[in-house]
């Protein structure tokens, strides 16, 4: 089913996609002419596939649950923010705060993500094929941020228990973020993340970063809850 945002309003399109008639078999949707609109595909909660043909604005696919959203263009601030589950795939570049506070699901960005990618992430997997901007994974609590390119300044500042894997150069690490051992368990873990997205990269070549656990009250007894 096709929607054309130059003919239909944003509210009409979002409302349709947020209230899928489960008795119908229609599960594939294409949105044309997104024209940089904000909050497109926010709050989707069913297992549907949506392809957006063009560039979108802020908070695209925010709060996503179960849906698979592909954006054939660039996205503005906060793509897939607070995502719960599902998959969001950006074929272009992403602006700042991509995947912010994401609780689950996977966000794949084929291009670059700018500053604060994965800020306060809480369980989401974020894979950036290009580079990330400054202060990425700021206060990241859990989940995985995989970067195939480089990372700008203050990577992982004030990080909790999220894991960062970076293939390229890291300009600088933020407060309480340190390089950690890339042991067999980690290589296996990263390998599974890459394979799930059909990404051909050698997991052994990545470096891993995480919390030095000196800024917050980390208790080893609670490690299973991250």
């Amino acid at each position: 089913m096709n929607f054309d945002l130059s003919k239909k309003t944003l509210r009409e399109v979002n409302s349709y996609l947020q209230n899928i008639d489960l008795k119908s078999n229609q599960r594939d949707f294409v949105i044309k002419n997104p024209l940089g609109n904000h909050a497109l595909c926010a709050g989707l909660q069913d297992e549907i596939k949506v392809t957006i043909k063009g560039h979108v604005g802020y908070y695209c696919a925010g709060m996503n649950k179960k849906a698979e959203v592909t954006i054939e263009g660039n996205v503005g601030t906060g793509v897939a923010e607070n995502m719960m589950s599902g998959l969001v795939h950006v074929k272009g570049n992403a602006s700042q705060s991509a995947g912010a506070t994401g609780q689950g699901g996977t966000l794949v960005i084929d291009g670059d993500a700018s500053s604060r990618c994965g800020i306060s992430m809480k369980g989401i997997n974020i894979i950036v094929k290009g580079s990330v901007g400054h202060m990425s994974a700021f206060m990241a609590q859990s989940g995985n941020l995989v970067i195939l390119g480089d990372a700008d300044e203050y990577l992982g500042d004030s990080i909790y228990e999220a894991k960062i894997y970076c293939l390229g150069k890291v300009k600088s690490l933020g407060a309480d973020c340190i390089e950690k051992e890339m042991n067999d368990k980690e290589i296996k873990h990263l390998s599974a993340l890459l394979e799930a997205q059909n990404i051909k990269a050698d997991p052994k070549k990545f470096k891993r970063y995480g919390s030095a656990r000196s800024l917050y009250n980390f208790k080893i007894d609670n490690v299973s809850s991250y």
Binding site: L35, N93, S114
Partner: protein
């Protein structure tokens, strides 16, 4: 919030449509700044152009009467409450004369620049000044959500504090009072309490001392404290700078025919061939410039 937009034409293909392209950009940024709007259009002339804003009850004929014996070779273009005075009289002579007329405000001057700004929703402001009819080589626009100073014409962007210079700003500066005091000592004049006018004055003061625009903006990174995305226009083009934290958005779209910059992509969605454009965000703390 505030919305900022700019378009620089790399060749003459779209010169006649410059105003039309900027109109769409400004309209789409109305939601980011509903309080006032303004724009600067660069269209090179052989004479000097002075844009003035007429105050209530003061008409063009009154202005003509005053200036008749004082300026030479003069033409007037009235658009809403703004008048562009084209004359061969040089700034050293003309500016003191214009500043002495109580019922007008000088908004900007130069050989290329024309500036129009007014309070009200940007969609109404661009209509009032018939922006879609303008042609030129490059243009900059602003839609304002007021934070630092009152909603007045003086508080509206763009700010022009030097010949063919202008500045629009999304953000807020925290050291503008101190900086204003030191710039006044250097002979820069200010009309408002606005923070952006201080940044414009800072740039003019530096350019006056023969520092390049790129170096001026790079020095600005340490001298201007606050949040900002700036677009600063000169006779030849414009430059863009974001502060190092980069909370204020900006996106650039570049094709073989033009470079456009805006707070959000939405402002550029209507531009020709934008889907084939190279689209990227200016990195924090780096000066990007075209033409200048």
């Amino acid at each position: 919030m505030c919305g900022i937009v700019g378009i620089y034409l790399k060749n003459k293909k779209y010169n006649k449509q410059l105003g039309k392209l900027l109109t769409g950009m400004m309209n789409n940024m109305a939601s980011r700044g509903p309080d006032s709007a303004g724009f600067a259009i660069y269209n090179k002339s052989s004479k000097f152009k002075y844009t003035v804003c007429l105050q209530k009850n003061f008409e063009l004929k009154n202005l003509k009467k005053i200036l008749k014996s004082k300026l030479t070779n003069t033409k007037y273009k009235l658009i809403a409450d703004h008048v562009v005075i084209e004359t061969s009289s040089k700034p050293e002579k003309t500016i003191p004369i214009l500043k002495n007329i109580q019922d007008i405000d000088l908004v900007g001057y130069g050989k290329s620049i024309e500036i129009f700004k007014q309070v009200g929703n940007p969609k109404d402001v661009v209509k009032k000044f018939s922006l879609d009819k303008f042609s030129g080589s490059h243009a900059i626009g602003h839609t304002r959500m007021a934070t630092e100073s009152a909603i007045t014409t003086d508080g509206s962007h763009p700010y022009s504090t030097g010949e063919d210079e202008c500045l629009v700003h999304n953000g807020s500066l925290s050291n503008h009072n101190n900086l204003r005091r030191s710039l006044i000592k250097d002979g820069i004049e200010f009309k408002s309490q606005n923070d952006t006018e201080v940044a414009a004055g800072y740039i003019s003061n530096s350019l006056k001392n023969k520092t390049s625009l790129k170096e001026t903006l790079t020095n600005g990174l340490k001298d201007l404290d606050g949040f900002y995305t700036f677009i600063t226009g000169t006779q030849k083009g414009f430059a863009v700078l974001r502060d190092e934290i980069a909370c204020k958005p900006a996106v650039i779209a570049e094709t073989k025919d033009y470079v456009a910059i805006a707070s959000e992509f939405q402002a550029m969605a209507h531009l020709p061939d934008v889907n084939k454009a190279d689209i990227y965000e200016p990195k924090p703390g780096i000066v990007y410039s075209w033409g200048s």
